[in-house]
């Protein structure tokens, strides 16, 4: 397969096939991520969500199909994955080819409200702080495509809510395309324009989320979309509650 990096902002996946042993995790998958859109990728575990994200990040090579991605991509992983031997700002600035890398890093850290920990060692950060540093490291690269691999899964409920709001605000301000891999239907409905459910290696459901922002959990439209998404994941709203 080919991973073509082109000077376009739209991401395009066509006929993507990826096998692990005899089973095809991705089996002829097609997906478009237009500029400025926010897509949430859902699916049961093992449905290939992370494999797709890793393919777009260039970390995984699929057997067949074509993938066109914009040149500037950034990943936020489930664990913060900071270099423990580099201070927070050095982590954010790592690999930046600019002379003013430190200023850019500080600016990004301000955006994620982490100015007070610029010189801290990563192992002294709380889970939420470390994840915000990871987010700053992605933002500072000014990506056309932001790949989020369950970035809130390991956080406590309150921290998760604040991080979700932060990501929503940053996405609105920067206007990059975002792909969020998540298990959490509510999180998808809170953040994304479109929810995509992976089933048997292909897109099982593509759902437009046309709710006004900022969104709230309580509204009837929210509940309707929620049960539709849960249904496609094989759950009823009662089971998920």
């Amino acid at each position: 397969m080919s991973l073509a990096i082109q000077e376009v902002a739209d991401t395009q996946v066509r006929g993507l096939i990826r096998r692990f042993g005899p089973t095809a995790v991705l089996d002829g998958l097609n997906l478009d991520i237009p500029t400025g859109s926010f897509i949430a990728l859902l699916g049961r575990s093992g449905s290939g969500k992370t494999t797709l994200l890793r393919t777009l990040a260039g970390l995984d090579v699929a057997e067949q199909g074509s993938v066109i991605v914009p040149p500037k991509r950034a990943v936020v992983f489930q664990e913060p994955r900071l270099m423990p031997w580099k201070r927070v700002w050095e982590n954010v600035a790592l690999g930046l080819p600019y002379a003013d890398a430190r200023e850019r890093a500080e600016q990004a850290l301000r955006e994620v409200e982490l100015s007070h920990r610029i010189d801290a060692w990563p192992l002294t950060l709380s889970g939420g702080e470390a994840q915000r540093a990871g987010l700053a490291r992605a933002l500072v690269r000014d990506p056309d495509l932001l790949l989020l691999d369950e970035p809130f899964a390991a956080l406590d409920a309150l921290t998760r809510l604040r991080m979700q709001a932060l990501v929503a605000a940053l996405w609105a301000r920067h206007g990059m395309a975002a792909l969020l891999v998540t298990h959490d239907v509510d999180e998808a409905l809170l953040l994304a324009d479109q929810a995509v459910v992976l089933q048997r290696g292909q897109i099982g459901l593509q759902l437009c989320i046309d709710l006004p922002r900022p969104r709230r959990h309580g509204s009837p439209e929210f509940a309707a979309l929620r049960s539709e998404l849960l249904g496609s994941l094989g759950l009823t709203a009662e089971e998920a509650a």
Binding site: F77, M83, P84, W85, G95, L123
Partner: protein, 283 residues
């Protein structure tokens, strides 16, 4: 030792005590602990001195602590101790220097490329099983009886721990962080500099600590054969004149040197690995 360790030790109670009191209590119990730990060695020395003074210990076999102290003073005053100490230190430093350069180079070559591993690792793994001190007769034949065989013995012995630990450290770098480096677009050189080498540094320092231990051991062996200077020579010479007290001084000097160099590496670890929580706690 710093506060957190103390607090861990004193914080076993669930009832809230004023922090300053707790800290005071902690400091007090720390001092008491230090005293307790010093008690046995001090008691041992007192007992030893008493036994010697009462004539229970033959001075030829085991001189009294005070006699050893006096011998050390004489050796210091004559300048002999300093001279031999300097010679020994230089030998260890030269040998260690060679070992660090060789061990690091080989470990990086083997750790960073498959070809390097296939070429370098098998012979080193084979050589490491050889008791290297058994090479002394060969070294004397090859290098004569000057400085070379002694430095070479130290260098050879100290190379292995550095190689083995650093190689393991380079190979053990967290693949998740390597992946991050790929998404950040780091070049191979930048990946090695920013991710792999810092990840391997703790292992390198562990290796260095072992290497220093081996270096002193090799020196002891090297200096007892065909040497005309160094702490080992001082001890061998003393044996010919039945000066047990000087032999004891030599032993004490070796012990202090070992202790000091270990402390040196610990200090190095605390600065170089400041990012580790363990380093901040002073362990």
């Amino acid at each position: 030792m710093t506060e957190p360790v103390i607090n861990l030790a004193a914080g076993g109670t669930w009832r809230r005590a004023p922090l300053s009191f707790k800290a005071r209590l902690g400091r007090f119990s720390l001092q008491r602990a230090a005293l307790r730990r010093a008690a046995t060695p001090i008691a041992f020395l007192l007992l030893w001195q008493t036994a010697s003074s009462l004539g229970w210990l033959p001075p030829r076999a085991i001189p009294a602590p005070l006699a050893i102290l006096l011998a050390a003073r004489d050796l210091l005053a004559s300048g002999a101790l300093i001279h031999h100490l300097a010679v020994s230190l230089l030998r260890v430093l030269a040998g260690l220097g060679i070992a660090v350069v060789t061990g690091t180079t080989l470990a990086l070559l083997a750790g960073l490329s498959r070809l390097g591993e296939d070429l370098i690792d098998p012979p080193l793994q084979m050589a490491r099983t050889l008791p290297f001190l058994a090479l002394v007769p060969l070294f004397i034949l090859w290098f004569g009886i000057g400085e070379t065989p002694k430095v070479a013995l130290v260098a050879l012995g100290a190379t292995f721990p550095i190689y083995l630990n650093l190689f393991a450290g380079v190979r053990g770098a967290d693949p998740k962080l390597v992946e991050v480096a790929a998404t950040l677009g780091l070049s191979r050189g930048a990946l090695i500099r920013h991710v792999i080498l810092p990840a391997a540094l703790p292992n390198f320092l562990t290796g260095l600590r072992y290497a220093i231990g081996v270096a002193w051991l090799s020196l002891v062996v090297g200096e007892q054969i065909n040497a005309d200077s160094g702490i080992g020579y001082l001890m061998m010479d003393a044996r010919d004149f039945l000066r047990t007290d000087i032999i004891m001084v030599g032993l004490a000097v070796y012990a202090l040197l070992g202790l000091a160099s270990d402390q040196g590496v610990r200090t190095l670890e605390r600065t170089a690995l400041a990012w580790r929580p363990a380093a901040r706690l002073g362990r």
